[in-house]
């Protein structure tokens, strides 16, 4: 079954907001997960879609206290096909 598409929001969701949406709407969770996977595979359009849907606030990232090296990965991702915070996890 094809994953439901979601249009880009006016502004990207904060971390708190996207978590709420993901928990509340399994279709949205599937959509975001699918886009992240595509972005990881090198799909720039998918990466742009993820970036359009999700941009954690600086205060949210600070609160996570993730060390700079891991955080750089997070921030660099919005401009490339590398993952965002969602890709915190890794190898199977």
């Amino acid at each position: 079954m094809a994953t439901k598409k979601f249009p880009n929001p006016k502004r990207p969701h904060s971390l708190k907001r996207i978590v709420k949406k993901i928990i509340a709407d399994p279709d949205y969770a599937k959509f975001i997960h699918g886009e992240v996977r595509k972005a990881r595979g090198g799909d720039r359009a998918a990466a742009a879609r993820v970036a359009a849907h999700f941009k954690p606030l600086r205060s949210e990232l600070k609160a996570l206290k993730i060390p700079a090296s891991q955080m750089n990965t997070v921030l660099e991702c919005s401009e490339c096909t590398r993952p965002i915070l969602i890709d915190f996890a890794a190898h199977v």
């Binding site: 971390l15 708190k16 996207i18 978590v19 993901i22 928990i23 399994p26 969770a29 599937k30 975001i32 997960h33 992240v36 996977r37 990881r40 090198g42 600086r58 949210e60 990232l61 600070k62 609160a63 996570l64 206290k65 993730i66 060390p67 700079a68 090296s69 891991q70 955080m71 750089n72 990965t73 590398r82 993952p83 915070l85 969602i86 890709d87 915190f88 996890a89 890794a90 190898h91 199977v92």
Partner: protein, 439 residues
């Protein structure tokens, strides 16, 4: 023998730092502050564990002496251990040696030379500094070289070129002020490691740090890899994070916890289920079921709102059954405390087994929270065989719920508290038997 390692290393550290002429309660300095020393600039930090500190110092000292630069190191290895725990300030993890160069040019020269002489040695990652090079022990940030008058290291101030003061923040994104260009050569970009190493499983979105310290963070996250998405707990074990005297770091502890959880789970003990386990950037991660329910007490809360010996007796009955199962499986938990015991619909579940060891193990460092460990326990470098840590912790929890206080070391004070709460004889005897173990 583990117990010999700290003595040898402490002696070596004392020998090395004896030559440093100035000291206060916490630090030893290479020289006195001079009027010509700058008040702010590029600080260089070197990272070390208490096991690698002496070796690193022996290599960098000639370089620092050649430059005649001001630097400081911890007065004791215990202080370094405390810094690396990140319990007081996470931003201070790894800051074993701080150098105060007199110019940007000196800072870059020093960083290059210090990096060269410390290659292949190990230390924890300094959370919010910039790493000089991949895997380097050398880090840098722009900051104040003076402590504020109130003595708080956090209260330092740096000035921009117009003279405007800014708080010197030891936080993410503040290592290089926006009004300065870094004089250090930009580190080579990190390889896109996400596209190598086989199939990947994207799908965890951490949104809350439950804990963050040197050994690693504990995060609440959403697992997107299944539908509907579920909440999970991700435990992180950092390589070289809070390395103990026996060489075990955050990475090793998470690996160990995974093994213990699998064995306890197989024995039917209600511990969190492991969903996934993986390594990333040298760190180890454990994705666990998020336990439903509330802990007996939140972390840091010393007593329940209402005290009742009957409730305490109920906790004793339930928890002692769980502990017996853990012991029957051959393990001692060693981290039994109210924030690690969850209650849901009258059922208890227990978490956090990083410090668990085999009942018969003796060559293992003490583990556990100070309030729930037998008196004097943490001064040792080994343990006698048995389950006494769990028994003592159980006695402490039950006493806490019956009286609202942690057990006093004196029997008379404890007796007074029992009387005040109307606890019957059999209850007192049970609790006292548990607490007596190492008194």
């Amino acid at each position: 023998m583990i117990s010999q390692i700290p003595h040898k290393l402490r002696r070596r550290w004392a020998r090395y730092t004896k030559a440093l002429p100035f000291s206060d309660a916490r630090w030893r300095y290479s020289r006195a502050l001079r009027k010509t020393d700058p008040v702010q600039g590029w600080k260089i930090h070197l990272s070390a564990t208490q096991l690698s500190a002496s070796e690193i110092f022996s290599r960098v000292h000639p370089v620092l002496a050649k430059h005649g630069v001001l630097f400081k190191v911890p007065a004791t290895l215990e202080m370094l251990e405390e810094l690396n725990s990140g319990i007081r300030q996470f931003s201070q993890v790894g800051k074993f040696l701080t150098v105060y160069p007199r110019s940007a040019a000196e800072a870059t020269d020093l960083a290059r030379e210090l990096d060269l002489v410390t290659r292949n040695l190990c230390g924890p990652e300094i959370p919010f500094d910039v790493r000089y090079r991949k895997n380097s022990l050398v880090y840098y940030r722009y900051g104040s070289f003076r402590r504020a008058d109130d003595g708080s290291a956090e209260a330092g101030v740096i000035f921009d070129p117009s003279g405007k003061p800014h708080k010197d923040r030891r936080e993410f994104g503040h290592a290089i002020p926006r009004w300065f260009a870094s004089p250090f050569k930009r580190s080579p970009p990190r390889p896109n490691d996400l596209n190598v190493g086989g199939p990947l499983a994207p799908g965890y979105l951490p949104f809350r740090a439950i804990m963050q310290r040197g050994k690693g963070g504990v995060y609440e996250a959403v697992d997107l890899s299944i539908s509907p998405a579920r909440l999970v707990i991700i435990k992180e074990g950092r390589r070289n994070g809070e390395t103990a005297w026996d060489g075990k770091d955050g990475y090793a502890r998470i690996k160990h916890e995974s093994r213990v959880l699998r064995m306890l789970g197989a024995a039917g003990i209600p511990v969190p289920q492991i969903f996934h386990e993986f390594s990333r950037d040298g760190n180890q991660y454990l994705v666990l079921e998020k336990i439903v329910g509330r802990p007996l007490l939140q972390q840091g809360v010393t007593g329940p709102r209402k005290v009742s010996w009957r409730r305490a007796q109920n906790i004793l009955s339930q928890l002692s059954v769980l502990l017996s199962k853990v012991h029957k499986a051959g393990w001692v938990w060693r981290d039994c405390k109210p924030s690690h015991v969850f209650l849901h619909d009258g059922m208890m579940r227990i978490i956090d087994f990083e410090g668990a060891c085999r009942i018969s193990e003796t060559e293992v460092l003490p583990w556990g929270s100070p309030n729930y460990s037998p008196p004097g326990y943490h001064k040792n470098f080994s343990r006698p065989a048995g389950q006494f840590e769990d028994d003592y912790a159980l006695g402490t929890i039950v006493f806490q719920f019956a009286t609202g206080q942690l057990p006093s070391p004196t029997k008379r004070t404890r007796a007074r508290l029992y009387t005040r709460t109307g606890a019957p004889r059999f209850f007192r005897d049970n609790v006292e038997r548990l607490l007596r173990i190492s008194r």
